[in-house]
């Protein structure tokens, strides 16, 4: 139960981020969550959108370097220590987080964390055992 994430290479220069959002916005694609990792030269923009395949296609057509990555969305109680509880469990299980970012689900009142693990298969096996609730992609895409 993974979620598809679109990653875009962005050179660190003015207007590039706006160009990405313009391209996917014009295609009628809605952004649900995003994160930007950056260096002084370039950034990697990670997007969760309601139609990832279409986003991939329109961005490629516009000349961007894009890739699709499987990530895991986890529901976290929207209260103090909600995230900490999960991170400690991951730590105990020895599951390494490559990166993560979060957004709050406006309707459900839950926080959703997007995780990229180094060993995604193992994470998928362990997380339910640890009482961590995974979120299906349709819920994320269509809220």
């Amino acid at each position: 139960m993974t979620v598809q994430q679109i990653s875009v290479f962005i050179e660190n220069k003015t207007g590039r981020l706006a160009e990405v959002t313009r391209v996917i916005g014009n295609a009628g694609i809605n952004i649900r969550a995003l994160s930007l990792a950056d260096t002084s030269d370039f950034g990697i923009l990670r997007l969760i959108v309601d139609s990832p395949d279409k986003a991939l296609q329109v961005l490629k057509e516009d000349g961007f370097t894009v890739s699709k990555t499987e990530v895991i969305a986890v529901e976290v109680p929207d209260r103090p220590k909600g995230l900490n509880g999960i991170l400690e469990k991951l730590d105990q299980a020895g599951i390494n987080v490559e990166y993560m970012y979060a957004f709050v689900e406006p309707n459900g009142g839950e926080a959703i964390i997007i995780f990229r693990f180094d060993d995604i298969q193992r994470a998928l096996e362990m997380l339910p055992e640890m009482d961590v609730k995974l979120v299906k992609s349709d819920k994320i895409f269509s809220a």
């Binding site: 290479f9 370039f42 000349g63 490559e98 990166y99």
Partner: protein, 433 residues
């Protein structure tokens, strides 16, 4: 102004041409009989050294280029047995195998004389203390200047390169009066002096002999102003001899080529046609006296112009302008020869990708910088920053070991580099030379 060897340096040009013709015949004879590569070249066009009647007949002969030297690596171009070779130097070898050059005892003597000529032309005398901050090794620079300075009778400090603080201490304490190094290292020294508060007035330095890399008139003025010296230029390449092929006199309107030992031609680099006097083109040199490693019509790839007008110094030898560029795409970065194709090879080795790339060369605080811009594509784009950075570092590491000089890799978006008529502009050199 003193002239080291007025008999030759101020020769009547008719007499010079006679001397050149006689020496050229000897050279062609030598290579024909001793170097299979030349024998083949001559035979291919039905030429025998006896066919040479005038200097112009040389134009019938094919060129020698770096590829010939590489094919005959290491000793195939030598015209004397190894027991007569007393010194071996080589080029940097950054495009693959280095070029190995040899010197007979007489070659070393000639080399020493020619360096003495241009050092004298720059005003160096037996009174001087010559500070040689070129690296001693296979590179021809340091040893060439070293023996020339000794021949003049100057006191030589063979300090070699590096450790700027120590250089300055010795320069100050030992009262160095003539500095030998690359022009960019002279400015590095000036920077260090300013930072450490060493006043050039407290030094005895009065003249600088700079070479081994291209530099501008603007850079000359900066060196002269900051070090309070007279800065002079000299020219040479290991394949032809090393420093001492040409050097500036104090009139400083071009470098006198020592034509009694080297026959210069200017050609159109595209067609190979010899251009009329005064034209800008590629310098081609034939050695006239070298025993161990003669070259016939060697393509230097350096673009320059020859000026035959008489010089106020009294020397009759033709002057070459500072080189204006290269007829191939070689870059000289921190004194190291770099070809864009080497960088291309490194990039193409990475994960089998074939990215577009561009080289940005600049000079920041008098130090050459090389930035390699690489257009990202799906094969070299990683969603994880750790992996993306590791890729950049891996390319940088491979470039450093291949080129022998550090380069910064910058990933850019696809199609961000200009492509003219389908052909990419590979090099942007922002150094103002």
């Amino acid at each position: 102004m003193k002239i080291w060897d007025p008999v030759h340096e101020c020769m009547d040009r008719e007499a010079l041409r006679e001397l050149q013709l006689r020496r050229l015949k000897q050279t062609l004879d030598r290579v024909y009989h001793n170097v299979p590569c030349y024998q083949q070249k001559f035979t291919d066009i039905g030429f025998h050294p006896d066919d040479l009647q005038t200097l112009e007949d040389l134009q019938r002969l094919p060129f020698t280029d770096k590829e010939d030297l590489r094919r005959n690596y290491p000793y195939g171009m030598f015209a004397v047995p190894m027991k007569e070779v007393v010194r071996i130097h080589s080029s940097s070898g950054t495009t693959g195998k280095p070029t190995v050059v040899g010197y007979s005892r007489r070659d070393l003597d000639t080399w020493t004389e020619l360096v003495a000529r241009f050092m004298t032309a720059a005003g160096v005398t037996a009174e001087d203390i010559v500070h040689i901050a070129f690296g001693y090794g296979l590179f021809t620079g340091a040893f060439g200047l070293h023996y020339g300075a000794e021949r003049i009778g100057a006191s030589v400090i063979p300090i070699s390169s590096g450790n700027t603080d120590k250089q300055l201490m010795i320069m100050h304490d030992y009262r160095s009066s003539a500095l030998v190094c690359t022009p960019s290292y002279a400015l590095t020294m000036a920077d260090r002096m300013e930072r450490t508060g060493l006043d050039p007035q407290s030094l005895d330095l009065r003249v600088g002999l700079f070479g081994a890399e291209p530099w501008s008139e603007e850079m000359r003025r900066e060196i002269e102003r900051r070090l309070e010296i007279v800065a002079t230029d000299n020219y040479g390449l290991s394949e032809v001899m090393g420093p001492g092929v040409a050097g500036e006199c104090l009139c400083r309107r071009g470098m006198h080529i020592f034509e009694d030992h080297f026959l210069p031609e200017i050609i159109d680099p595209e067609t190979g046609e010899v251009l009329p006097p005064g034209s800008v083109g590629e310098l081609v040199i034939t050695s006239l006296t070298k025993e161990a490693f003669p070259v016939v019509r060697y393509r230097t790839r350096d673009i320059t112009r020859l000026d035959y007008a008489p010089c106020d110094c009294g020397r009759t030898m033709v002057r070459m302008q500072k080189t204006m560029g290269r007829s191939d795409d070689m870059l000289i970065i921190k004194g190291v020869n770099v070809f864009p194709t080497q960088i291309e090879e490194v990039l193409f080795q990475m994960e089998g990708c074939e990215p577009h790339y561009q080289l940005i060369v600049d000079r920041v605080n008098n130090v050459d910088t090389l930035e390699v811009r690489v257009e990202v594509n799906e094969k070299i784009f990683f969603d994880e920053m750790k992996q993306q950075k590791a890729f950049v570092e891996a390319v940088e590491k491979r470039l450093a070991s291949t080129l022998g000089v550090g380069a910064r890799v910058k990933l850019v978006e696809p199609a961000s580099m200009p492509r003219h008529e389908g052909k990419a502009v590979r090099v942007i050199d922002r150094r103002k030379l």
